[in-house]
């Protein structure tokens, strides 16, 4: 079966692109931050440099790893589900469920390994750049060079491969068991994640306000809540549809009508696209707002801001930026993959008399609902972390720059989701409808 997996990867590199990209981005982020641990453990390093490196790696590496785990897993779930037809065929030709599971997991591992291998180079370059910035800010002594060692590589490959294999196993099990049952596992996992996230956010209050790692608890908590809420997001889509149906039909015409019908019936399957969207909104809002609050707190502490302080702020933004960009790429990647997969459906709509622009309007209307759902779920998750951190770190509750930051993030999410969906759809409907339905 592994031979079959290898062959199936070689035959269809295009369909695996989404998985490969997710594994690549994910592994790059994990290797980058965990290589700071390797750097901190070189012999002869001074304790100050080692502490700065470990702190940066720990604060971001923790929730960064969680994000990668969730991101790679959600992409895998999406791509495995896209192949349910092929798996049905294999089953009918006599493949046992065990063989199919081994094939899909083998494939996932193969692609994830390729993605992680490709990520090593960029991660080393990124690590060097990051350590160079740490030199500039004086947090790390100039003589300390960036090193990639067993921790960075182990974490990078370990996280990427286990996320890929785990998600492939869960997704393929659902497919080989025939009709998907009620998603009880997902509901339980979602509830657990929300509870754990609330715990993380709550832990903020138990910590010392001046502790440098204070940001990690609310950030981690918010991201966990985001992931947990993603499990319930299909229900949110269903709840939104009655209210949105009218405006969507008015705004997008027959395209809006089709979007409403699709969203209602496919809400459960949308979880794979909603997960990165909610993670992006939740994660970007919480980390960027925390950073802004932290900077304000330092500025307000009465000490004059030195050049180092400003450098430190920039550095933190760079670090947060890397993770934010990762989430945004993940969102684009999964939406593009999900849209390209609908080639046949778009063809059928066109054969029934839909013009290209009606199909595109449908995709636009769906993207709008997805973004709205992502914002509605991601915002409260982020708010939990932001408000508790602000309360502990400062004597206020409402952070000053939160609103413009949030608006910016929503705009980026809408732009990324809209463009990823529409650009892919435009390319997909270029194929003649009669060809699109026959392949």
């Amino acid at each position: 079966m592994f031979a079959l997996a290898v062959r199936s990867v070689r035959q269809r590199p295009g369909r695996l692109a989404a998985t490969l990209l997710a594994a690549f981005f994910g592994a790059a982020v994990v290797i980058l931050f965990n290589s700071l641990h390797d750097t901190a453990q070189q012999p002869g390093i001074d304790p100050g440099s080692a502490e700065s490196l470990t702190l940066t790696a720990g604060v971001v590496g923790g929730y960064g790893t969680l994000l990668v785990l969730l991101g790679v897993a959600s992409t895998l779930t999406l791509t495995v589900r896209q192949r349910s037809e092929e798996m049905d065929l294999l089953r009918r030709t006599g493949a046992t469920p065990g063989q199919i599971i081994r094939m899909v997991i083998g494939e996932a591992l193969l692609v994830a390994t390729a993605g992680a291998l490709l990520a090593v180079g960029p991660a080393v370059l990124g690590g060097r750049a990051l350590v160079a910035r740490l030199h500039e800010t004086g947090q790390v002594a100039a003589g300390v060079d960036h090193v990639l060692g067993p921790i960075g590589l182990g974490a990078g490959f370990g996280v990427t491969l286990s996320a890929a294999a785990g998600a492939a196993w869960l997704a393929v099990r659902r497919v080989t068991r025939g009709r998907p049952g009620r998603h009880r596992l997902r509901t339980v996992a979602g509830a657990l994640a929300v509870t754990a996230g609330a715990g993380g956010v709550g832990a903020t209050f138990a910590m010392d306000p001046t502790e440098p790692a204070l940001m990690a608890a609310p950030a981690f908590g918010s991201i966990l809540i985001s992931a947990g809420l993603a499990a319930f997001s299909p229900a949110l889509v269903r709840a939104l549809i009655p209210a949105l149906g009218g405006p969507l039909r008015l705004l997008f015409g027959a395209g809006g009508h089709l979007a409403v019908l699709n969203l209602r019936r496919r809400a459960t399957e949308l979880a794979g696209v909603l997960m990165p969207l909610i993670l992006f909104v939740g994660m970007a809002t919480v980390t960027l707002c925390l950073q802004a609050v932290e900077s304000d707190a330092i500025a307000g502490s009465g000490l004059t801001r030195s050049v180092e302080d400003r450098n430190l702020e920039t550095l933190n933004l760079v670090v947060v930026g890397i993770v934010t960009v990762f989430c945004c790429l993940l969102l684009i990647n999964s939406l593009a993959s999900a849209t390209a997969f609908r080639r046949r459906e778009f063809g059928q709509q066109r054969l029934a008399g839909a013009t290209r622009s009606q199909v595109l309007r449908m995709v636009g209307a769906e993207a709008l609902v997805l973004v709205l759902t992502g914002v509605l779920a991601g915002t409260p998750a982020a708010l939990a972390g932001v408000l508790s951190f602000t309360a502990v770190r400062t004597d206020r509750i409402w952070p000053g720059q939160a609103l413009p930051t949030w608006l910016g993030i929503v705009a980026v999410a809408a732009l990324a989701a809209g463009l990823a969906g529409l650009v892919t759809a435009v390319r997909t409907v270029r194929v003649p409808a009669t060809v699109a339905v026959s392949a």
Binding site: G353, R356, V437
Partner: protein, 249 residues
Amino acid sequence: MSALRLTGVRRAYGSGEAAVTALDGVSLDLATGSFTAVMGPSGSGKTTLLHCAAGLERPDSGLVEVNGEPMPGGSETRLTRFRRERIGFVFQQYNLLPTLTALQNATLPLTLAGKRVDRARAIALLEEVGLGDRLHHRPDQLSGGQRQRVAVARALVTAPSVVFADEPTGALDTRSARDVLALLRSAVDRHGRTVVMVTHDPVAASYADSVIFLADGRLDPAGELRRPSADAIAARLAHLGDQAVGTGV
């Protein structure tokens, strides 16, 4: 009055050495209220003929007229608008939308054309195809025969000038096939629709008023068979196959 007229329609695929001529100057004229079957060996150009006549593909040259109106050139959008008002299509693989119910699928062409959906009329249509108790079922809750009957209702819902059917019984068991063919027949007899059906099955073709034969992208010069029996059609097809072998194609 002719519902469909093709004049010198040509269509080739590929270019240069590898070019394959699928239609080599086909002309035909089908009267309103007629039921015509198109037959021929595989690769004879049947499906291309149907796609060109239905506006799903553009011919390289030649003219296609529906109810006296020429198929418009220009953007695909113009062609789609023309098509969805005048032409109904039944596919071998149904091509129903999986997220829509039977009723929603059947009325989809009206919705897309921005027309008011006459619910009562659509329900009456689905009752006529025997699906009055399946209105709110989705395609995956219907059998193959039921799906194809939804597709027939969808093809008829706009009261089109011509209904095209591409191997409509190709994926069905004998009984379901008979039901679908009877529906197409009654669309012609009771509602005066015009039906053009591609099929390789002589029994299916025997439901038509006349059968035309296609070989190597041309209409068989021996002409059409009128009110044929399945046996007569099978004999003619065998003859056509021999000819093709005989000319070394």
